[in-house]
Symmetry: C2
Subunit: 379 residues, 2 copies
C-alpha cells in the first residue's frame, strides 16, 4: 500500500491517462490507424518544438538521437565545438570522438554555464567548425546554457550548425527552435514529455539538411535522411515504438490543453520556489547564477552522506530524487520540476529532504521549506 | 465495442497481464529496485536463449541490435557472408555495406531456404570471412534457414563467427544458442516475446567477444563492450527502456510457466494446422519445403487483390494479418503463430480469410479450413 513519488530528472512521473492509453491492445505500425496517430503526433511535436522544421521520432533513448545528430551531419576529421559543463555535455564529445570528429572542447566547471564570448572566440579561431554541440539543460548539474546567444553567433556562419541537447529542456522551458534558429534539437521521452524511456525526438533545419548532404560518417539505424523520407509518409524506416508514440500523442494533448506558456510558467515557478526554499533551510545551490528550471541541484551539508539520504528518501519514504554524478557523487541532490508535477509534489519533495536531513543528524526545522515555497507558489 | 485481433508477424498481441504490469507507476533505472528486475530478466533471457553467453538488452528495435551485431565485431574492409532470402536477410547486407564491410551475398529466391552446401562453398572460397549473417526465420517469406547445419560449418573455422537474426525465432521455435554454437543471436520485443516494439536483445559468445577485440568500426549507442560492463552490474550504459524491460520480465515468466517445449510445440502445431488448412481450401504455400513455425505465408488466388483482402479483414472484421512486401506485395498474406495466440486465434484467422475471399469474389466454403485445422489441433 506504500505510495511512491518520483522527482528524479528522468524518468519523471507518467500521467495515469498516458499509462492507460499505452495499456490498450497493441496495433500494427504499418496501418492507416497508426499512421494517423503518427501524423498527429508529428504535428503536435512541431508545436512543442515551436518549429516548421522536420521532426523525427526514433526508437531509442535520447542518447541514440544524440548519436544520430553527429553521424548524419559530420564526416571523419570534421571539427566540432563541444560545450562540456557536465555529464551530458561530455557525452557530445564522446560521441564525436567515437566517430573520428575533431573536438574543440570548452570545458566548464560543473555548476557553471558557458560564457558566450568563449564560444565566440572558439568559433573565430576555428572558422572551419561544422557544428557546435551544446546542452540546453545540463541534467547532471541543473545548469541552463545561453542557447539563444550561442545560436545567434552560429547563425551568422554559413557553414556551421548548432545542435542542442534539449533532453531536459523541451517542454520544460522556452527553447523556441525557429525563433532562435536552432538547427538540430534533440530530446527524449522520459523527461518533460512525461513518458517511459525509449523514444528519441529530433528537429532538423534546412541548413542542417544541407550539411547532411556532405556527411560521410557511416549510419544505418539512425539514418535521418531515410527517416525523413519515411516520416513524410507518416511512418518510420524501422519498427516504431508503437506504444510510446501513442503515449506521446496523449501527453502532447495534455500539454496542448494547458498551453506552452502555462506549462513553462508552472515549471519555472516551482523551480524558483524550490531554490528559495532550500536556501531558506541553509542549503546552497550548485548553479545559483544559471539555473535550469527543469532540475534544481542542491549541495548537502558536508556532514550528510548524499547516497544515504537519497536511499533513505527512496526506500523509506517512497520519495525518489537523484544524487550527484562523478565528482558530485554523495554531495548533491537533484529535484526535477518537469512534467506531471505541481505545487503539492514540491512540498512533498521539500519535506522529505527536511525529514531526511534530521534523520541523518543535520537538525532542520520541518515545514520551513514548505512555508517559503508556498508563499512563492501563491494562492 | 468492436473487438480486434492481431495476427501479424510483429507486433504480436501483448498479454493483458504484461500490459497492466507496464501500466504501473514508472520507476527509476538507477535503483536497486530496477536493477533487481533487470538481473532477473537477464537470467530469464539466458533461459530463453538457452545459453551461458552474455545477453544484452538494448533500447532499440531489432534492427538496432542487428546494427550492433555488425559494428561490434567487424572492421572496415572485412568480408562477411550474408544469406539474403528476403527483406530481413537483405537488411544484413545493407547494414554491412553502410559500414564498409565487403559483402559476399548468397541471394536466394524468396520462399526458398539457403542450401548448406552453398554456404560451405562460399566459406571455402573465402577463408578470410569474419562472419556469416543469417536469418533463423525470414519474416518476409516465412522461411526457416538451416541454422544448425550452417553453424556447424562456421564452428570449424577459428576466425569466423555466425550471427543469427532470430527476431521471429527466439521463443517461437528451438534455436538453442549453446547447443548449436551460435555466436551472436539477435531478437526483438514485438514478436514471440509478446511485447510492444522498442527492445532489442542479443547474446554474444566468447568467440564473438574475441573478434570484438579487433573491431574498429565506429560505435557509441550500440557499444556492446560498454553494455557488457554495465550489464555485469545489472544496469545499462544509457537509459534503459524501463517499462519494456518490466514487461519482458513478465512475459518471460509466463513462458517459463509453460516451459520452452510446450511453447515451441504449440507454435509448431498451430503452424502445421494452418498450413494444412489453407492448402485444403486451395491456397498454395510460399515456403512449402522449409516453413518457419512463426509465420505462414500463403499465396492468394490470382483474382484476389491482397492489399484489399488485408484491408477488408483489418478494417471490417477487426482481424489483422500482414500482406506481402516488395515483389510479393498484394500476392500473399502472412499469418503469425508467435506468442500469445492459441487454437481459437487460428480459427478466427482462417475463417476471416475464407470470408474475405468470398467477399472479394473467390468462392470458398466457410468453415472448411477450421475443420481441417481443428482435426490437427486435436481434443
Amino acid at each position: 500500500m506504500k505510495r511512491t513519488f518520483l522527482y528524479t530528472p528522468g524518468p519523471t512521473q507518467v500521467p495515469e491517462d498516458a499509462l492507460l492509453e499505452m495499456a490498450r491492445p497493441i496495433i500494427h505500425h504499418r496501418t492507416p490507424q497508426f499512421e494517423a496517430i503518427f501524423a498527429d503526433t508529428l504535428k503536435k511535436l512541431k508545436w512543442l518544438f515551436q518549429t516548421q522544421n522536420d521532426v523525427l521520432i526514433l526508437a531509442s533513448s535520447g542518447t541514440g538521437a544524440m548519436e544520430g545528430s553527429v553521424v548524419n551531419f559530420l564526416s571523419k576529421g570534421d571539427k566540432a565545438i563541444v560545450v562540456n559543463a557536465g555529464k551530458f555535455g561530455e557525452r557530445w564529445g564522446e560521441i564525436c570522438r567515437a566517430y573520428g570528429v575533431e573536438v574543440i572542447e570548452l570545458k566548464i566547471e560543473w555548476g557553471k554555464a558557458v560564457k558566450v564570448e568563449d564560444v565566440k572566440a572558439a568559433l573565430d579561431a576555428n572558422p572551419d567548425v561544422k557544428a557546435v554541440y551544446i546542452t540546453a539543460s545540463e541534467t547532471s548539474t541543473g545548469v541552463a546554457h545561453p542557447i539563444k546567444e550561442v545560436a545567434a553567433l552560429v547563425k551568422e556562419r554559413e557553414n556551421t550548425i548548432i545542435v542542442v541537447d534539449a533532453i531536459t529542456a523541451l517542454g520544460a522551458f522556452n527553447v523556441p527552435t525557429d525563433e532562435w534558429g536552432l538547427d538540430v534539437v534533440v530530446s527524449g521521452s522520459q523527461k518533460a514529455l512525461m513518458l517511459p524511456p525509449g523514444l528519441g525526438v529530433v528537429s532538423i533545419s534546412e541548413k542542417a539538411w544541407k550539411l547532411a548532404e556532405t556527411s560521410t560518417l557511416p549510419k544505418f539505424y539512425f539514418n535521418f535522411k531515410k527517416e525523413r523520407k519515411n516520416h513524410l509518409k507518416n511512418t518510420t524506416a524501422y519498427t516504431a515504438a508503437v506504444t510510446l508514440v501513442i503515449g506521446l500523442n496523449k501527453t502532447l494533448s495534455m500539454m496542448q490543453e494547458d498551453g506552452l506558456e502555462t506549462v513553462f510558467a508552472r515549471t519555472e515557478k516551482m523551480a524558483h520556489a524550490c531554490r528559495e526554499a532550500v536556501q531558506a533551510i541553509g542549503l546552497k545551490l550548485l548553479a545559483p547564477t544559471c539555473p535550469s528550471p527543469s532540475v534544481t541541484s542542491v549541495f548537502l551539508p558536508e556532514s550528510v552522506d548524499g547516497g544515504k539520504l537519497v536511499k533513505l528518501m527512496r526506500d523509506t519514504y517512497g520519495v525518489g530524487m537523484a544524487g550527484g554524478q562523478d565528482d558530485l557523487k554523495g554531495r548533491i541532490i537533484r529535484i526535477s520540476h518537469m512534467g506531471y508535477v505541481g505545487e503539492w509534489d514540491l512540498y512533498i519533495a521539500l519535506t522529505a529532504v527536511e525529514k531526511a536531513l534530521n534523520q541523518l543528524g543535520h537538525v532542520t526545522p520541518i515545514g520551513k521549506a514548505v512555508g517559503v515555497a508556498a508563499a512563492i507558489m501563491g494562492a
